[in-house]
């Protein structure tokens, strides 16, 4: 059984700024890994490097035993097995909700329109969006848009789901509806890597917490240990600031 995700020696710089300074990470099947750390610690960049939307400088990324960073590999083929949901939703504004969800299954997986729409309708129904299928994204609330973005990623039946601070752009009262979707996916056994500032959520849902600090993984362990007795001074300081801000 190969791991859904294996990252080794990942380096990434933007100009002179080195954002990721050698990341090693392995995620087992059904595991939910929460990436925590201050803004600018490299959480988002790490997620964007895993599916190579952001080209990397050095290192290897292996998804379900296939190395996406290998020379000559068809990146598009491996990417379709990785779902990613962004902070700012990035729905396609010129398409209805249904077309947003069915675009990739139809064009990438070559599903027929009816097949893709049936599957999409089932997913939308499951997440309480059935009555929104013909609406355009700008008619939806932020929470609804983000749930559509999650459904759009799920429609490709990914082996691995990456979530990049998916509640950071939402009004506080809309956060719960999105987090509940993720809880449901975790209960179903979806393998996920989640960058988040919601520490309470991370503590509930994560099987592992990974603390990123200045482009390095500083601490990695079960949530009970990381939140109760962090080993590193930097982790303790970070959690202290979070507690002072009233977020934990």
């Amino acid at each position: 059984m190969t791991a859904p995700l294996f990252v080794e020696g990942l380096h990434k710089s933007f100009g002179a700024l080195e954002v990721l300074k050698g990341i090693d990470l392995e995620v087992a099947e059904h595991e939910v890994v929460c990436l925590i750390g201050a803004s600018g610690s490299g959480k988002s960049t790490l997620l964007r490097c895993i599916n190579l939307i952001e080209p990397i400088d050095a290192g290897r990324v292996v998804v379900e035993g296939e190395e996406i960073t290998a020379a000559g590999v068809d990146v598009d083929r491996i990417r379709r097995r990785i779902g990613i949901v962004y902070q700012s939703f990035n729905l396609f504004p010129h398409m209805s909700v249904l077309d947003n969800v069915t675009l990739a299954p139809r064009r990438v997986l070559r599903r027929s329109r009816t097949e893709a729409e049936d599957a999409a309708t089932q997913l939308l129904d499951r997440f309480g969006l059935a009555d929104k299928r013909m609406d355009y994204p700008d008619r939806l609330s932020g929470g609804q848009q983000q749930r559509v973005a999650i459904v759009r990623a799920l429609a490709m039946q990914p082996d691995l789901l990456l979530l990049d601070e998916i509640t950071s752009a939402l009004d506080p009262e809309l956060i719960a509806e999105v987090l509940n979707v993720i809880r449901e996916l975790a209960a179903d056994g979806m393998t996920m890597v989640i960058a988040t500032h919601e520490m309470g959520f991370a503590r509930d849902i994560a099987s592992r917490i990974v603390f990123l600090d200045a482009g390095r993984i500083l601490e990695d362990g079960p949530p009970e240990r990381i939140f109760r007795e962090p080993r590193e001074v930097r982790t303790r300081e970070f959690l202290q600031r979070i507690i002072e801000a009233g977020r934990l």
Partner: protein, 299 residues
């Protein structure tokens, strides 16, 4: 989708300034005074009688109009054929210029040089060179029809402009859209075709219409290589009658065709701007997205 707020202040097409009935009255009076003054100067100028006879001859007008207007059909054909070719060819050029990667550098370079050359050359020169030069080579099988070369020349010149309009549209679509499409496993070409281009083209429809107003007028340039269209026909009539009134007919035809198109373009621009503004502000502002076709009037 986070949209940027409108850049300029939201002004109607024409505005009177100030408010209420008093402003309208002042606007009317000052307009009457200014135009009355200009009219008085023209009518009392020393050469007015001569000008009136050679430009505003009613009998000549009535007699010339039908023949001249009939020739407008040639301009319409030039315009319609060239427009379709320009829309396709301009898009191809824009997409070629946006191709990524060092391998495709020669293609990008060619497309860029192409656009630079045809934007730099006066349209009438391109028409001359193609219309007289290529038939002059007498290559077997190559057409020597001036209409054909007129369409080719207009297409070359205008597709260079239109490709720039398309390119601005493509660049206005936020990169996160293409990233979202690629993340779902779509190829670069699929992301362009299904996600980026549909949004880009929608945004550039008003500036495209603007270029087509220019194209409509520039169809008269094709008369220089011997196509008898509306302008050439009025020249012929003018020489035959020793009178300039036929040109007035042509001028009126263009005014009648072009001004409504310009109004529709402005209205589309206003509507697009209102729509983006409404999206930026939120659904609550969506109720007030009415474009103004004619503008003017006190607010």
């Amino acid at each position: 989708m986070i949209d940027e707020p409108p850049r300029a202040s939201r002004e109607p097409v024409l505005r009177v300034g100030g408010s209420g009935r008093r402003a309208v009255a002042i606007a009317l009076v000052s307009t009457a005074v200014i135009f009355g003054l200009i009219g008085w100067v023209v009518v009392n100028s020393p050469g007015w009688d001569q000008v009136q006879r050679s430009f505003l001859d009613w009998d000549n007008f009535v007699e010339s109009a039908p023949r001249i207007i009939a020739r407008f059909e040639v301009n319409v054909r030039l315009f319609l054929i060239a427009e379709v070719l320009i829309l396709v060819f301009g898009l191809v050029l824009a997409v070629l210029r946006g191709l990524p990667g060092p391998v495709l550098y020669p293609i990008r370079l060619l497309a860029t040089v192409w656009v630079d050359i045809f934007r730099a050359l006066p349209g009438v020169l391109v028409i001359y060179v193609l219309g007289f030069g290529i038939p002059g080579l007498r290559i077997p099988g190559v057409p020597n029809d001036p209409f054909f070369w007129g369409v080719v020349a207009l297409t070359l010149v205008y597709s260079a402009y239109v490709s720039e309009v398309y390119r601005a549209g493509i660049e206005s679509v936020h990169p996160s859209q293409a990233a979202a499409a690629r993340s779902l496993g779509l190829t670069q070409v699929q992301a362009l075709r299904f996600v980026v281009l549909p949004q880009a083209v929608r945004r550039v429809i008003p500036p495209l219409l603007n270029d087509f107003i220019g194209l409509q007028k520039d169809t008269v340039l094709v008369s220089f290589i011997g196509v008898v269209e509306i302008f050439r026909q009025s020249q012929i009539r003018s020489s035959a009658t020793f009178n300039f009134t036929p040109y007035l007919v042509t001028a009126l035809v263009f005014l009648l065709i072009t001004i409504p198109l310009a109004r529709i373009t402005d209205w589309l621009v206003a509507r697009e701007r209102d729509k983006r503004y409404a999206t930026a502000v939120g659904a609550s502002a969506a109720g007030s997205r009415r474009g103004r076709l004619w503008g003017g009037g006190a607010r």
